[in-house]
């Protein structure tokens, strides 16, 4: 069993556990490289099916390529798509820094979809290596009535026994990719031939390493124009993955505040 097989089989176990233990689940599909791997893993887990809806929380400000990708693969992968529009910026806490306030629209959109669909489990493709507060996450992570994350008192999680009991009105976030790294994602995408959005590949010396809203996401300098190039770049770079995501860098605790409030 090599490293990618280990990652894949652990994720499959987590997805099957979520599907079995929770009544109503959905998978968040941001259209990025991670959530495409996640859908792929679901098809592995359920032998070609994705037996729950995928949810796109749409800020309306994604790149054109992302929308095209979504519309194509909903059909090709046979997905049930729930699209939820985020509320306008005016409805979001004005005390947040500019980019974080913009990102918080997504949290609000998420709450809307939770209310509407009554999900008790939301599968999200976050990884520990992306960001230091995500590194502290659990695989099955409880969220309060308002979707908030109590990072001061997280449940114990060991021996692949996850928290699957929760009080009414709360929900769980399930993180099947938590143990993956950015490099793992690309190596696996290459091995499995998983489709990805063209924005990840360098054009004119720039590429996106992480995709978000068009106005708060910036490309990094790179000449990596294929997956193979990206893998080589990641093996040598020491620039962090989310350096192009403005909301992470406005204040020391900007991201923590977003996450505590229910952001991914």
């Amino acid at each position: 069993m090599n490293h990618l097989d280990q990652l894949e089989n652990k994720s499959v176990y987590i997805l099957r556990e979520a599907f079995n233990r929770l009544d109503k689940i959905g998978m968040l599909w941001s259209l990025g490289k991670d959530s495409n791997v996640m859908i792929w893993l679901a098809k592995k887990a359920f032998l070609g099916q994705v037996p729950f809806p995928v949810v796109h929380v749409d800020t309306g400000k994604k790149f054109r390529e992302m929308y095209e990708f979504r519309d194509r693969y909903v059909k090709e992968w046979g997905l049930t798509l729930i699209r939820e529009t985020c509320p306008p910026i005016e409805e979001i806490d004005p005390s947040l820094p500019v980019a974080a306030r913009s990102a918080a629209r997504k949290t609000a959109g998420l709450k809307k979809v939770l209310d509407k669909e009554k999900f008790n489990g939301l599968i999200a493709g976050i990884r520990r290596d992306e960001q230091a507060t995500r590194a502290k996450e659990r695989v099955f992570s409880p969220r309060g009535q308002e979707g908030q994350w109590d990072f001061r008192d997280q449940p114990p999680e060991f021996w692949d026994q996850y928290k699957t009991d929760y009080p009414p009105g709360t929900h769980l976030r399930i993180h099947p990719l938590l143990h993956w790294t950015e490099l793992d994602i690309w190596q696996y995408s290459l091995r499995e031939n998983i489709p990805t959005i063209s924005l990840y590949y360098a054009k004119d010396g720039k590429r996106y390493r992480s995709l978000g809203d068009e106005d708060i996401t910036f490309p990094v300098a790179s000449n990596a124009s294929t997956i193979e190039d990206i893998i080589i770049e990641l093996q040598t770079t020491n620039v962090s993955e989310r350096s192009g995501r403005a909301m992470d860098h406005e204040a020391e605790d900007a991201f923590e505040r977003l996450r505590a409030d229910g952001y991914l």
């Binding site: 069993m1 090599n2 490293h3 990618l4 097989d5 280990q6 089989n9 499959v12 176990y13 099957r16 556990e17 599907f19 079995n20 098809k43 592995k44 887990a45 359920f46 032998l47 070609g48 099916q49 037996p51 520990r128 290596d129 960001q131 230091a132 507060t133 590194a135 502290k136 659990r138 990072f151 001061r152 997280q154 449940p155 114990p156 999680e157 060991f158 021996w159 026994q161 928290k163 009991d165 929760y166 009080p167 143990h179 790294t181 190596q187 290459l190 091995r191 294929t226 193979e228 190039d229 893998i231 080589i232 020491n238 620039v239 962090s240 020391e252 605790d253 923590e256």
Partner: protein
Amino acid sequence: MTQHSDSAVRDLLRIVIVGHVDHGKSTLVGRLLHDTNSLPLGKVEEIRAMSERRGMPFEYAFLMDALQAERDQGITIDTSQIWFKSGKRNYVIIDAPGHKEFLKNMITGAAQSDAALLIIDAVEGVREQSRRHGYLLHLLGIRQVAVAINKMDLVNYSEARFHEISREYRAYLTELGVQPTFILPVSAREGENIVSRSAAMPWYDGPSVVGALDSFVSEPLSSNLPLRLPVQDVYKFDERRLIAGRIESGRVSVGDEILFSPSNKTARVKSLEVWPATLAQPAQAVAGYSVALTLDEQIFVERGDTISHIANAPIETDVFRARLFWLGHEPLTTGKSYKLKLNTTETQVQVQKIEAVIDTGDLSSAPALQVERNQVAELVLRSRRMLALDAFNDKPATGRFVLVDEYDIAGGGIISMEGYADQRQLITQRSTNIVKLDQGISDEERARMNGHRGGVIWFTGLSGAGKSTLSMELERRLFANGYSVYVLDGDNIRFGLNANLGFSPEDRSENIRRVGEVAALFARAGMIALTAFISPYRSDRDRARAAMPERFHEIYVQADVQTCESRDPKGLYQKARRGEIRDFTGISAPYEEPENPGLVVDTAAHSIDECVEQLITYVEANFSLRTVGRKAG
């Protein structure tokens, strides 16, 4: 372009860093990352700025202590993970908090690791959490442990101090039965003996921290153990019926005959399914793989069944011993029930006995009535139903469990079967080709000897209707008249024959099935069996009748709920009204009245004596040879 076969994917080892608070865990992690060039660009500057903002000296701990509360208070609250690589392979470093109050987070971190690095401060020496963490690593099954004696710079790199601490800690671990793989002197702050051997400690000739980590192995060899594949789910998305689960140990091949425990069904593996369909289906799968298999026949299988081969099957038992660490907010107490999660099985278990609470400091143990948060204890747990499990020392992955208190995982334990039997043979009816033999003595011969026929008087009615009272009184009177008679009473039987049954509908049915069979045996032995069971379901009573169809007399002991509740001899109605008893017949569970009883005894309208007279007449008429004879004559 470069080759990208799977061989380009590097091996990964997960290392947990544990130890007493402030012994330098986070600093050592920072140093490892820095000295192996694993830090992202600008990270050191970022940490320097954070430190300055808080008026602190440069703190590597800020690398992993990402939460504001952690940074402000200078403590690690929750476990974190960070990646680094040596020349040999990739590592995940799992940082675990050293504060006692965050023990659940330490365990969360440690349980995910392949090996551990335990840090002890050279100045402070061995402290409470140094011992407790060592103990828990052992309990969690982590066998590869390197002990780093840190802050050697503060003791002038003293060889004597190093040996003093290593002797003390080694003695502790030896008592636990653990051999530390390495004990090494380091200074995380100065970077001594981290990546390369230290010039400051020429007296030390062992490996550096990275050298020690590189010598650990990353994959346990559980594929050589017997097969254990707990069923996680059963899918029927298309024409295939797929049994899904992860192989915890051993290997399974297409064509293997497999056994499902505790249901004890067998079938053969028809295929190991994979997606995409263009991939070749494997002929075999080994430990670690999440598989989906199909069977050669459609047997009922459900989540919680454990697949094994017929030889080397798991233990079946409803009682086992455990060593447990408790993380619950409320103490664990004797008699209380918790939800057990054992692989994919979930069931209620009751704490039968707390044998001892263990002091992880000096390893002494003492009796206790409850187990407090963060304590370790030895227990006996009893389940309401048969479980398929293993002893942790034989098969770790299927020999450990967690307990859930309300919504929370509140403890974890490892199983020992010391002093308890594998009950598999007691409950398995695998006999085929059996032939029923006629008894040598006929019913008539027995009846002549006893002066009456054998049979079953089956009382049914609500709790408090008078079944037990009437049956005991009737037994006394019949006995005095020379009858061979015996009462099978509901509670009495539940203390013995049916002690392993609860009050769910399924268990109640099983309860009645067994009593029906036993009553029939009494009857065939020539006796009159009086049974006093609520037996609320018609179909259950019909099954009991089927066991002794010739002389089965159903007696309806009639009294309405109000009358029974006003009597309430066992206080059960009160408990049921308070919601303490669920599925209580007449209150929260149905009672199906007999359609065609042999006799109705109305205890609300008549006194006990009147009712007993009525019953005596009935029994005489139906069982006594003298009466029958008189009638015939």
